[in-house]
């Protein structure tokens, strides 16, 4: 295997500081960097030698031999062990789990985000299907730590097999339930999960604790169990590789990939890119970022998506409708330039609110506030094409006006959806409500 690059910032907060130097021998699980503020420990994911310590990463040359054994974290209370293991939210946000679980929600609900709403990614659902026992134990640990009264798995109803597995496992659990979600984007947005499960729409600046709730991704629960039961540091990741690959467009699911492995290595392992291609996305089609084969995966990487080539708009005037559900303005402009369009109008969904960090958050994820005015604006600004990144509901609204105005609509994820054989985001033809299981069981 090639060199492993461990980024010093794999989480929300400040970058960690390296505590190893060039030439140091490390083992799987060796602590190599520690937080300088809000953050989480970083451990080596391989046996090998530190060959470079850069400002933003530590580079390790792996040994030929990679035994399964690893350096265990020291024993302590469950919460201490989670902190020591360097756990962060594995669904993508990367909030340090030890900090999250340090907030008690007595009598509250611990929600498990199993929505896996980034189209094309399947490793979360696969994990439930194949390794649910440890996941469930993770939930119980989390509920115990936070003093939550009940746990709820939020999962799309379409994942029948996974739902069946959960139902079977929780049938005798008095405090654990299932909440079924519709197959729309972004049903897995944290505040959308809370709204659907608990009926509370949180303000964009509120944490789940404001609803006396906590939310964690299914993989995070698995890693909690590993940290507590196996004293295993957080150095491996589950992910999906999918797209324009030599063996077709079916997903490749990998469990326990060493953090720091390069994107290129994982693509090669998945049969390699079928040339020519459009771009490689690190993460999901909506919120992922374009990346390169040299980039390493982190504790929060959920997907690697290789896409087909972009259509050529021949510099047609193009409007962009920015929203909180997908790419920011930079990403939208990047997509337009890859389509060889020319941005002539920039609009933003009225529900997108800019946070202090510069990130956008939606006031009511998945429930459209209306887009006709934005579409009119782009039309007036001379757009022939519009590129949107909206959720299922807003995309549906855009389709209610844009085509009649003669605007050609491109969704930011179109090239991905076409690559993986999924329907493109346009009209919404299903209900946003799904029937729930009796008593959530």
């Amino acid at each position: 295997m090639g060199n492993v690059q461990l980024l010093l910032r794999q989480h929300v907060g400040a970058p960690c500081a390296a505590i190893v130097k060039v030439g140091d021998k490390v083992e799987k699980g060796t602590l190599i960097a520690t937080p300088t503020g809000l953050g989480a420990n970083i451990h080596s994911s391989v046996y090998g030698e530190v060959v470079e310590v850069l400002e933003d990463r530590i580079i390790i040359k792996p040994d030929e031999e990679q035994p399964d054994a690893f350096v265990k974290i020291k024993e302590g209370t469950p919460l201490e062990m989670i902190k020591e293991a360097g756990l962060v939210g594995m669904g993508g946000a990367g909030f340090p789990t030890g900090v999250k679980l340090d907030t008690k929600i007595p009598g509250g609900a611990f929600l498990v985000n199993a929505a896996e709403c980034e189209t094309g990614l399947v490793h979360n659902v696969r994990q439930i299907e194949e390794d649910f026992a440890r996941t469930l134990r993770g939930l119980k640990y989390a509920m115990e730590i936070t003093e939550a009264a009940k746990g709820i798995f939020a999962i799309k109803a379409k994942n029948e097999k996974a739902v069946a597995v959960i139902r079977e496992a929780i049938k005798d659990e008095p405090n654990i339930f299932i909440h079924l979600l519709a197959d729309i984007y972004p049903s897995g947005e944290e505040r959308a999960v809370i709204r659907e499960c608990l009926g509370v729409t949180l303000g964009v600046d509120k944490l789940p604790s404001a609803a006396n709730a906590a939310v964690a991704n299914v993989e995070t629960l698995l890693r909690i169990t590993e940290a507590i039961e196996d004293r295993k540091p957080c150095f491996s990741k589950n992910l999906t590789v999918i797209g324009h690959l030599n063996d077709g467009n079916k997903p490749h699911v990998y469990f326990d990939v060493p953090v720091g492995t390069s994107v290129g290595e994982l693509i090669e392992k998945s049969s390699g890119i079928e040339e020519p291609y459009g771009e490689i996305i690190l993460g999901g089609p909506f919120t992922g970022k374009p990346t390169t084969v040299d980039t390493p995966i982190t504790k929060t990487t959920g997907g690697i998506v290789v896409t087909m080539e972009f259509m050529d708009l021949h510099q047609a005037p193009t409007g962009i409708l920015i929203c909180a559900c997908s790419g920011n303005e930079e990403r939208m402009r990047d997509v337009v330039s890859k389509y060889n369009g020319k941005v002539c109008s920039v609009t933003m969904c009225k529900q997108a609110v800019e946070m202090k960090s510069g990130a956008l958050k939606c006031e009511d994820p998945g429930n459209c506030p209306g887009q006709a005015e934005k579409v009119l604006k782009m039309k007036k600004d001379g757009a022939e094409y519009i590129v949107i990144g909206n959720c299922s509901d807003c995309s549906n609204t855009v389709m209610g006006s844009a085509p009649k105005m003669g605007l050609k609509v491109i969704h930011q994820t179109d090239h991905v959806m076409r690559t993986i054989g999924h329907a493109i985001y346009r009209k919404l033809r299903i209900s946003k409500q799904v029937p729930q299981l009796p008593n959530g069981k």
Partner: protein, 618 residues
């Protein structure tokens, strides 16, 4: 876009349309509804059909029986629990007579100001359909009760000691000298009614300016109106101050029957104009009788100035063309000063009158200040002169307060060369209809005129408009007019002036060419009372000199509208598309009440069709 409770309240009787797909069982709330402000655009785009739509107040709280998609009107068949409408049964397009007549302002004159609506559609921008109450309407019986109600508060606000008494602040006398013939001769002089212009003066005029390479003088008598001319840059009265009088007071001598006309190109033959130019046969390109234009029958002393190539779009170029022309005008002025009083054919006195106790109004005139040819010399020594005048661009375009008489006495030398149809030339200020109308209206107290330049840069636009707001505030005005020339860029400050004045709780009425081509590019909640200066048939900048400038008929409408606004009259919703008939209807209503006929000015259709107009505009 979904709306707020506040918007929903304001639009309670507007059609209810889903902003987005909503599923069966949804209890309709305001956040499910599209903003009625964009309906016109949606209907125009064929996206929306409002047939059968219930109103917003009817649907809120009702339950949707079936899933409906975005931009679908909510109709009775898809809802349970629809409320009854509180709206009056009257249809939207009720006759203006049914609208409440506004009470008149307190004054001796039995003139009623009142409702009626001028409706202007602004095609660009956001939420700027304007509703405009215009003029007096209604039967005498309807007006009478209003009078009593209106007098009391105004009278109460008046300074008791002086209420109702007119105070003459200063006077200005115009002495008219008639000219029936203009000839060239060995010296510049006036003999009887013949004006002689010295032969060879052209060379001196050229030499007076570095950038002027050539200057021709043509005497255009009415039989020569069908003469080709380069674009008309300005039309100026020939006037001078008598003795020690200053512009705006004392005595001004003016020649009747003749005007100065500045025309020109640069050395490459490029017209000195932007967004259209009026070159062509004079009789096909001049809207006779507009305040800024020549009267039919007048003689033009027309200079055709050629300035250095490429300087037509820089400030010194057009200024040089004006200055060279003024070299000739100044020589005529010197002669005029010596004319014998016996040659005075007419004398008129303008009084600057203050009317304490009446509603105090100010007129904000936005003038061009973007630089290049968009400049104005303010307060020159002679009426519409050059010497002593300060370019408003150099003054930073900040508001400059002038008295109504200063304005009428030529304190603005207009270098402006925006679209010919809407530009206010020097003569326009000399005969400014709104200023005259407000000055003579016994029901209002005209405090003065504020000239504010329109800078090029947005930040500067807001800088000057904030000064306008402060100025109007400290004048303690009860109402304000904002006028502008041109369209497009200057509408940004035009809108900002409305906002700065309006947010201080001062009613404001705007006057601008808008119609079709000049549709406002920006808008705000204070732009509710607007008068469109358009006269053109198609609502466009038709490149006919002065066609779409502020005329008497616009001044009357604006004044009536401001009076209404100051009395707190509500302004009704506008029609969605520009409709010139609304203006004529409302003028007729004003006229019915005042008993004075209002003759509408003609438009370009009264002129012989030019080749350019035929090709470009028909």
């Amino acid at each position: 876009m979904s709306i707020t409770a506040e918007t929903a309240k304001a639009h309670a009787n507007d059609p209810a349309v889903l902003c987005c797909r909503r599923e069966a069982g949804t209890v309709i709330s305001v956040s499910d509804l599209e903003d009625p402000a964009i309906f016109d655009d949606l209907v125009d785009s064929g996206l929306l059909n409002l047939d059968g739509a219930l109103t917003i107040e009817q649907v809120v709280g009702a339950t949707l029986k079936e899933t409906r998609d975005s931009l679908q009107p909510l109709t009775a068949d898809v809802l349970d629990g629809v409320k009854a409408s509180s709206a009056p049964a009257a249809p939207a397009e009720e006759a203006p007579e049914e609208e409440v007549a506004a009470p008149v302002l307190p004054a001796g004159a039995p003139v009623a100001a009142a409702g009626g609506v001028l409706k202007i559609h602004i095609g660009e921008g956001k939420d700027i359909d304007l509703e405009i109450p215009v003029g007096a309407i209604g039967a005498a019986g309807a007006v009478a009760p209003g009078v009593a109600g209106a007098v009391a508060p105004v009278a109460a606000a008046a300074e008791a000691a002086v209420a109702g008494e007119e105070v003459v602040v200063r006077t200005l006398t115009r002495k008219h000298f008639n000219i029936t013939e203009v000839k060239r001769g060995p010296e510049t002089k006036i003999e009887g009614t013949t004006l002689y212009i010295r032969e060879g003066i052209e060379k001196e005029a050229v030499d007076s300016q570095n950038l002027v390479v050539d200057l021709k003088v043509d005497i255009i008598t009415p039989d020569k109106y069908h003469t080709y001319s380069e674009t008309v840059m300005d039309v100026q009265p020939i006037a001078t101050k008598e003795g020690d009088s200053e512009v705006g007071s004392g005595v001004t001598r003016v020649l009747d029957g003749v005007i100065m006309m500045v025309t020109g190109t640069d050395a490459n033959g490029v017209q000195i104009g932007e967004f259209g130019s009026s070159e062509g046969y004079l009789d096909e390109n001049i809207m006779w009788g507009r305040p800024g234009c020549p009267e039919k029958g007048e003689i033009f002393i027309k200079t055709q100035v050629t300035i250095k190539e490429g300087t037509n779009m820089e400030r010194p170029g057009p200024l040089a063309a004006h200055a060279a022309t003024d070299h000739i005008t100044q020589e005529i002025r010197e002669v005029m000063k010596k004319l014998d009083e016996s040659l005075v054919v007419d004398s008129e006195e303008f009084k600057q009158v203050r009317r304490p106790g009446m509603k105090k109004v100010v007129i904000v005139k936005e003038i061009m200040g973007q630089g290049a040819m968009h400049d104005n010399l303010l307060l020159p020594v002679e009426p519409v002169g050059i010497l002593g005048g300060k370019p408003n661009v150099d003054l930073g375009n900040v508001p400059v307060c002038v008295s109504p008489l200063e304005l009428l006495d030529g304190c603005v030398h207009a270098l402006t060369c925006i679209g010919p149809a809407s530009k206010e030339m020097s003569r326009h200020y000399w005969r400014e209809p709104l200023v005259l109308e407000a000055l003579h209206d016994p029901e209002v107290d005209l405090a003065g005129v504020i000239l504010v330049g329109s800078p090029q840069i947005n930040s500067e636009k807001f800088y000057v408009s904030k000064r306008v707001g402060m100025t109007v505030e400290m004048l303690g005005a009860d109402g304000a007019f904002v006028t502008t020339e041109g369209f497009g860029n200057n509408h940004i400050d035009f809108a900002a002036h409305h906002e700065e004045i309006g947010k201080r709780g001062i009613p404001v009425v705007g006057l601008s060419f808008c119609a079709v081509q000049g549709a406002l590019v920006v808008g705000n909640e204070y732009m509710t009372a607007m008068v469109d200066n358009n006269k053109s048939e198609a609502g466009i900048e038709n490149e006919v000199l002065g066609c779409n400038t502020l005329c008497h008929e616009d001044g009357i409408r604006a004044l009536a509208m401001l009076k209404d606004a100051m009395l707190g009259e509500d302004i009704k919703k506008a029609e969605k598309a520009w409709n010139p008939n609304v203006k004529s209807t409302n003028l007729e209503l004003i006229s019915n009440v005042t008993g004075k006929p209002i003759e509408l000015v003609e438009n370009e259709q009264s002129l012989p069709m030019s080749q350019k107009r035929k090709e470009k505009y028909s």
